[in-house]
Every structure is written in C-alpha cells, then in structure tokens.
Symmetry: C2
Subunit: 225 residues, 2 copies
Amino acid sequence: MDTVNIGLIRVLTLSDQKEIDRHGLIIEGAFSGLKVRSRCIEDHPKGLYDKISEEEAKPKIISLAKELRKGVEAIIVSCAADPAVKELKEILNIPVIGAGESLAAVSRTLGGSVGVITITNNVPDPVRRGLGERYLTWKKVEGVESTLDLKEGDILAHTLNTAMALRKQGSNVIALACTGFSTAGVAPKISKELGMPVVDPVLAAGSIAYNLMLNKECWREDVED
Amino acid sequence: MDTVNIGLIRVLTLSDQKEIDRHGLIIEGAFSGLKVRSRCIEDHPKGLYDKISEEEAKPKIISLAKELRKGVEAIIVSCAADPAVKELKEILNIPVIGAGESLAAVSRTLGGSVGVITITNNVPDPVRRGLGERYLTWKKVEGVESTLDLKEGDILAHTLNTAMALRKQGSNVIALACTGFSTAGVAPKISKELGMPVVDPVLAAGSIAYNLMLNKECWREDVED
C-alpha cells in the first residue's frame, strides 16, 4: 500500500523521541497510510501558552518546517494556536495544516453550536475564526496554565466538568483547543460521558491530511485498472 | 471491529439501489469502520440545481432524515448546497453533516487560497460561508447544467481545464462544489495532473463523519485495557 509522508512539528521541547512522536503515532494509528515524521522546537519546555511565547516560537517553527519539507507531502503544526501556519502556507508549496484550524473545521461541521475548551484565558485566533457563526462559547479548564498541566491525574474530571458546563449552555459539540488534550487522550472518554462529539485537535489535523492519502489511493487503483 | 452507522441522503432520484449506494460505497471504501445506509428523495430526477429545486427538496430531505435517524449515529446530506442541513442540525440530536460545509472545512485547511469549481452560476452558500477568508475565486465547469451532465465522457478534460484556470489565478487547492464530481471520481485524477490537492465533497463529508468512529475506537481500546 502506498503511504503519504507527513512532517509534524511539536511546539513543546521534549528530549525523548518517543514523546516527540506521540502525536504522530496517534495520527498513524487512526489513519492507515499516513506516515508521520515528528520534530520539536528548542527552548520551549512549557510549550506555547501566550502571544509572547508564540512569537518567539515562530521563526523556529519556520526553520524546522523548511528542514522537514524535503520528503514530505504536507506539514502539520501540532498546536491549536497555529503558530507560523499562515506564514508557512505562503512560503511552502505543500499543504501546511494547523491543528487549530483543523479543530475548527471538523467541529463546525459536526455541530451546530460549538463550545470550546481552552487552557488559556482566550480562544486561539484560528479556532475562533475557523468556527465563524458556529462558535457559541468557551471555557478554560480549571487548574491548568500550560500543556504540561494536562498530564495530571485529575485532568479528565476537570475537563469533563468544563464540557458539561458548555453543554448546559447549548453546545452540541465540544472543541478541545490545545493539543495537550490529545496527548492526554481525553476526547473519547468525555465524548462517551456526554453522549456528543468531542473533537481532538491532533486527530482533526490527521483527518485533513488523510485527504491527501485518499487521492493517492485512487491513483494507485487507476494504475491497476 | 466496532462500526459507526451513518445515514446518507442522495438528492438525486435514482431507482437502482446500486446507484443510490454509490456515495456510501465511496465513504466505506475510504474510511474503515463507517457503515453507510443510503436513501434518495423522490421526484428529483435531475438532482438540485437552483434555489427553487432546493426549496422543493427540503421537506423531503427532512422527512427522509427523520426516517433514517433510527439506528444511525450521524446523517450526511450528500449535496454541496447543504439543503435542509441547517434545519436538521436544530431538529435532530445527532450530527448532521453537509457535503458543502465539509468540502469548505477540508479545503480551507488544506490550502491558503481556495478555488471553487461549480456546475451552476454561483458558489453554494455553505461552501462560500465555510471558506471564509480563504475563498479566492470560482469557475463553472463548461457544458454542465446539472449533476447528470457530470457523467459524460469528456467531463474530466473540462474539469481539468477549469482547475488549471483557477490555479493560474492563484488557487493552491481546488474545491469541487457538486457531489456529482464524486460520482464521476474526478478529484484524484485532476489532483495528480495539477500536483495540488483537489477536494472531493463526498470524501470530505466522510472525513468529518470518521471523527465519530475515532472516538468509538478509543472506547473499545479502553475496554480491552
């Protein structure tokens, strides 16, 4: 079977390649045919959590994307704030997929009224913009200040409570606006409890990248005809 | 393996169940675990091609969706104009996915500047609205007035010419704004010729529905832990 090679950029500095590969493995597990090569930026041990850390990270993301670009057919920036995604879409001649815009794209289509869960005191711009008229409201998950805090044991309960509050306000789909939620794997558990879709940003980005694979699959069939 | 059952509504009246099932089969072939049950509306032998035919079809789509609703976890309306999708999102308590909004969602994320190919003299509202600031331009494919004309032999060449014109105008992704393009299977062929993503509306809707499957898969893994 053919594969599509995807480059993935982690915005959290990690030393263990297994940890760096985690989002890539989530995507490979869900989308047969995608092969993900992951790298992380330097000197961001707490990830990105405000405008200043995002701006500092941008040139590093652009530089890493240029390195990764050789041998891949698309690049995913695995952060819901989509740092440098706009710039990279202009610089590179392959698709550059932000986890934030992907999250918005899938969420707005699965639901009529989207509630957003964040780890910061604002909804990331690409998520808000991508949701457009489908955006309903947002809420920050309690006791979390950076993606690192999403690893704690009781984060599932906090996130579930937040999601329940958003459902009460009329949301019929929940968008998890930090890729740390993907690392923690909370989306399916919350979805089951709530009985409604909860969208994971890393899997949303995978869904978009998979469309490149679908085209390639069809080419293969043509050759065999 | 668990499956997710999806109901799919064709807005083109067909008598052969094989033909009715065609979009469902495209989705099942691309997304392992989705099981699609398809039905078509009555008395629309040319499909939907203008505001009048869309309005006439709406109550039929709503009625069919209510019938299909039992035993499915989401409903796809397989038409790029998303007829009755807004209404159904309010009436039903499961996700209702329009092919038009799905097309826009995937296209805006895969590209920076989206060119839309239509079969009518306008861009369907949900496609235009969903693309937002990523919308660049549109062009009608030559010699086509309804989805039936997309079956003709030279439609691939006409669509490719249209896509090439949109690329010349600066589009870096092409959105095919009629599910008849999916029936004709033109997206991968054009994508290969152009060397850029061409988004198929039925596969885009499948990508969104697949997110429900991803959640269910994770539940299953939890049980096995």
